[in-house]
């Protein structure tokens, strides 16, 4: 588990301090724009602003002038990113005069506006349809928020299938649930009320409190119990069998 130490007293930029929009282009790569409403307290006017757009191993970095004089770069095309998943952004406000390269303020995993549809807002899990090559589904965690269950977009009505088809539900959901719990337990996120906490609370509601010890065996057994209870509650194996029998008939 990685612990981070903030030696330099850098400030966390709140999501409300900037609004990122992406515009799709008919021809060519999408273009992004940023509206800043930075709280300039503790931010020197001459500090430089950088916006980094990223997804997986791809990255594009753009300089937006300084805190005192924001200047949008002319070219804001996201033409070097892996856009098979939505782009995420980070902002870095950097001291380039006194302590060169020191981070004064930053924020990670910022999502562009309009990337949270209403249906998904209240759910713990976002379901999306994405190109996944030969993989039928996978869970994405580097999303800037909730985990995303991605179903291969080559599957017709991929999202509808997951919502309505017992075969999809019974074969995908237990495995996805297990992955999510494993991820949040082994990548400890201490943000109060954060996504990890909500998922653990959801699981504890089913089988009782998560073991306090960091013993992998105890934790794995607990996750097994959760997935077992979840499958039992929604009768996933029965649902699958009924659907298979229907198909045969």
């Amino acid at each position: 588990m990685q612990r981070t130490i903030n030696h330099t007293g850098r400030r966390k930029i709140e999501a409300k301090e900037l609004q990122i929009n992406i515009q799709e282009q008919d021809n060519g790569a999408p273009v992004f724009d940023v509206d800043f409403s930075l709280d300039r307290k503790k931010l020197p006017d001459d500090a430089s602003i950088y916006i980094e757009a990223y997804q997986r191993n791809t990255l594009q970095r753009f300089k937006f002038g300084t805190v005192g004089e924001i200047q949008k770069p002319d070219n804001r095309e996201l033409d070097q990113l892996d856009l098979t998943s939505p782009a995420l952004f980070r902002i870095r406000i950097v001291d380039e005069t006194e302590h060169l390269g020191r981070l004064i303020a930053s924020a990670e995993r910022l999502k562009p506006e309009g990337d949270n549809d209403e249906d998904q807002r209240t759910s713990l899990l976002v379901v999306r349809s994405r190109p996944l090559g030969q993989q039928t589904w996978r869970v994405e965690f580097d999303t800037g928020g909730k985990p995303e269950l991605c179903i291969n977009s080559r599957i017709p009505d991929a999202i509808g299938q997951l919502k309505n088809n017992p075969q999809f539900q019974s074969l995908i959901l237990p495995g996805a649930f297990r992955q999510i719990l494993m991820f949040f337990i082994w990548n400890e996120d201490e943000e109060e009320g954060g996504v990890a906490e909500q998922w653990i609370a959801f699981a504890e509601h089913m089988v009782g409190e998560k073991p306090q010890e960091n013993d992998p065996l105890q934790l794995t057994n607990w996750i097994d119990d959760v997935v077992d209870r979840f499958s039992e509650k929604f009768e996933l194996c029965d649902l699958l069998l009924h659907r298979l029998e229907e198909n045969v008939a």
Binding site: T8, Q55, N57, R61, Q80, L100, G101, R102, L103, G133
Partner: protein, 236 residues
């Protein structure tokens, strides 16, 4: 030879050839894929290449950057047909014949530029060209091994590709780990646990990136921030 790019069929046949070798098959390199109109197509620019004989990946990268110097290469950055054609052209050096006539290629994405961005940096030619193009001499320590070998250092740095984009980081690593006499990386650099090795360098970068913007730091800035464990590489 005037290089053409592979089309879909050419890429597919090249992939089948690699898979066949990986499964123990023996087969001549299908150079004809590079000239047949059914498996390749002309490029927007003329580029004449020679097979040459490169002692290491750095030599190959230098040769290629010179050849591509006047080409608007940006639009070919993700072009699998182009980079895969180059890997096919130099395949006999990337994957030489063994004494028993067999060959053991590594994963397909080392030769065919993958659509999967996680695998792209593993392409033998694309990454070699890119590192030399971006960092010139400062990429020597990463590319000093013979063509079939990607090398331990690049493997360790690729685990955090963000660092490969930071000029200061790459120059600092070169200053620390390149041994100009041996013309390769310094002894001990490729270790896993020894003080100051590349693995420790990557760990240290992960710590300081919490408080510093690595893109903004020069090589000298980074070296002045380094803890004592890196001294042995600074002075050798």
């Amino acid at each position: 030879m005037k290089i053409r790019k592979l089309n879909k069929l050419g890429i597919k046949e090249f992939e089948q050839f690699i898979e066949n070798l990986r499964n123990g098959g023996k087969q001549n390199t299908p150079d004809y894929l590079l000239t047949e109109p059914s498996t390749s197509e002309v490029l927007e620019f003329d580029i004449e290449l020679e097979k040459g004989l490169f002692a290491n990946r750095y030599e190959l990268g230098t040769y290629l950057t010179e050849k591509l110097n006047d080409v608007d290469i940006q639009k070919f950055i993700g072009d699998s047909g182009f980079w895969s054609a180059l890997a096919l052209y130099w395949f006999d050096q990337l994957c030489p014949l063994k004494a028993d006539g067999s060959r053991k290629p590594s994963m397909v994405y080392n030769y065919i530029l993958s659509e999967n961005y996680n695998h792209r940096p593993r392409h033998a030619i694309f990454t070699t060209w890119q590192l030399v193009e971006l960092y010139g001499e400062h990429s020597r320590y990463l590319l000093s091994r013979e063509l079939p070998v990607r090398g331990e250092l690049i493997e360790q740095l690729m685990s955090r590709q963000y660092f490969l984009s930071c000029t200061g980081v790459m120059q600092a690593a070169s200053a620390l780990y390149y041994d100009s006499e041996r013309k390769t990386f310094k002894k001990g650099a490729a270790g896993r646990s020894s003080a100051g090795c590349v693995y420790r360098f990557v760990n240290w970068l992960q710590q300081i990136e919490i408080n510093y913007d690595l893109f903004s730091l020069s090589s000298d800035d980074l070296i002045s921030l380094m803890p004592k464990e890196f001294e042995r590489f600074k002075t050798v």
